[in-house]
Each structure stands twice: as structure tokens, then as C-alpha cells.
């Protein structure tokens, strides 16, 4: 069936560096792609979304890029901070499939001081 998945399970970066977290998706009919952050012992929290007809969207210190040609989504975090250490999930919504919110497998980001 359709799925959203990630390339790498772990990522370690130095504090102050930029982080790039990648995601591959298979459902080209998805309406939105979303990034969530999950800190240890907590539920996921929304970071940023991008509509399927867009290529780039920027937020505060984060940028999401969508490449529909290769079905690839990325989250860029500028000037990574220790507080950014968490597991990051990409997710997708297809409103033609009942609006189910489907998550990928996750990447654990570790920020070294």
C-alpha cells in the first residue's frame, strides 16, 4: 500500500550546524506533507507543512523542500540547537483517501554541544 518512509534512522550534528532530514514518499496523490517532532516521552508536535503544489516553505529556522519528481521531502533546520534533539517524522494527508494522517518511520536527530 501507500507509505511514507525515511532514508536514515539517525543523524548526529554539531550544535550550530545546519541539519537536513530526508523523507521518501510513495503516494503522489497526497495533498499535504507535514513534519512532526517528537521529544522523548511525549507525543509528536507539528513543525511545518507544505501543500503538494508547492516546492518550498520556510518557517522559523526550518525549511521544507518538496521534490515531486523524485517523491522526496526534506526538513532543513538552521543553526541546530540542543533543544532540537528529538525524533522527526514526515507525514502525509490524502483527502481523497479519507484524510488519514499517515506517518513515516522517523529520524532521530542528536545535537552534540
Amino acid at each position: 500500500g501507500e507509505s511514507v518512509g525515511l532514508h536514515l534512522p539517525t543523524l548526529s550534528v554539531q550544535e550550530g550546524d545546519n541539519s537536513i532530514i530526508n523523507c521518501a514518499y510513495s503516494n503522489s496523490a497526497s495533498d499535504y506533507f507535514i513534519w512532526y517532532k517528537q521529544e522523548s516521552g511525549k507525543g509528536p508536535q507539528f513543525i511545518i507543512d507544505i501543500r503538494s503544489n508547492m516546492d518550498k516553505r520556510q518557517g522559523q529556522r526550518v525549511t521544507v523542500l518538496l521534490n515531486k519528481t523524485v517523491k522526496h521531502l526534506s526538513l532543513q533546520i538552521a543553526a541546530t540547537q540542543p533543544g532540537d534533539s528529538a525524533v522527526y517524522f514526515c507525514a502525509e494527508i490524502d483527502y481523497n483517501q479519507g484524510g488519514k494522517l499517515i506517518f513515516g518511520q522517523g529520524t532521530e536527530l542528536s545535537v552534540k554541544p
Binding site: G43, L101, G106
Partner: protein, 112 residues
């Protein structure tokens, strides 16, 4: 403001027993979801509901049932628990056409 609340926080359950995980939100969100999170497997959608009175199957619905009698509550029932249902369960809600879902704190369920 409570947001979204799950109960219990954790539970140890004997195999074969029936269990209902509770989820309540006070944000008047139409859409609600149940996920299970196993180590290394991310969040997998069990069941969802787009509005009171309707429910749908997610990626891993077998062994679980849900009901949505009103907007606020979305209970998840395990009719006869099995050890493979040991997991952390998250409930979430959102406005129908939004992408931002709000998650509960999770229920850690161990089936022995």
C-alpha cells in the same frame, strides 16, 4: 485548557482481557486518530474518525475497535488483548482541513 487527554497513562494487562483506552479532547476538533508506536516502527494508524458518528480503518486495525458517539470522545477497545499489542498508544485530534494534529501524552500498554 486541557487539550487532549488519554487514560490510563500506563497499564499492564493479562492476555485475553478486554481493555478500553480513553481519549477526550475539548478543542471541538472533528478529526480524531489512534496510533500505536513500537520501537523502530514509527506511528502506525489504527483507526480514525472524521466526524462524530463515523469511523474508518487505518493501517493496522485488526484486534481493535473504536466508536465516536460524540465530538469529544474517541475510545479504543482491545476486545481480547494479545502480547503483540504491547505498545505505546497515542490519540490525536485536529480540525478537519488542517494539518496540525494535537497529540495526547500516550498510554503505555503491556500485555503479558
Amino acid at each position: 485548557i486541557a487539550g487532549i487527554t488519554q487514560a490510563p497513562t500506563s497499564q499492564i494487562l493479562a492476555a485475553g482481557r478486554r481493555m478500553t483506552l480513553r481519549c477526550t479532547q475539548d478543542m471541538r476538533h472533528n478529526a480524531m486518530y489512534w496510533y500505536r508506536q513500537d520501537l523502530g516502527l514509527g506511528l502506525r494508524l489504527i483507526h480514525y474518525s472524521n466526524t462524530a458518528g463515523t469511523t474508518g480503518k487505518g493501517e493496522v486495525p485488526d484486534g481493535y475497535s473504536v466508536s465516536r458517539a460524540n465530538t469529544d470522545d474517541f475510545p479504543l477497545t482491545l476486545a481480547s488483548a494479545v502480547p503483540s499489542q504491547t505498545s505505546v498508544y497515542f490519540c490525536a485530534s485536529k480540525k478537519t482541513m488542517n494539518t496540525e494534529a494535537f497529540f495526547g501524552q500516550g498510554t503505555r500498554l503491556t500485555v503479558v
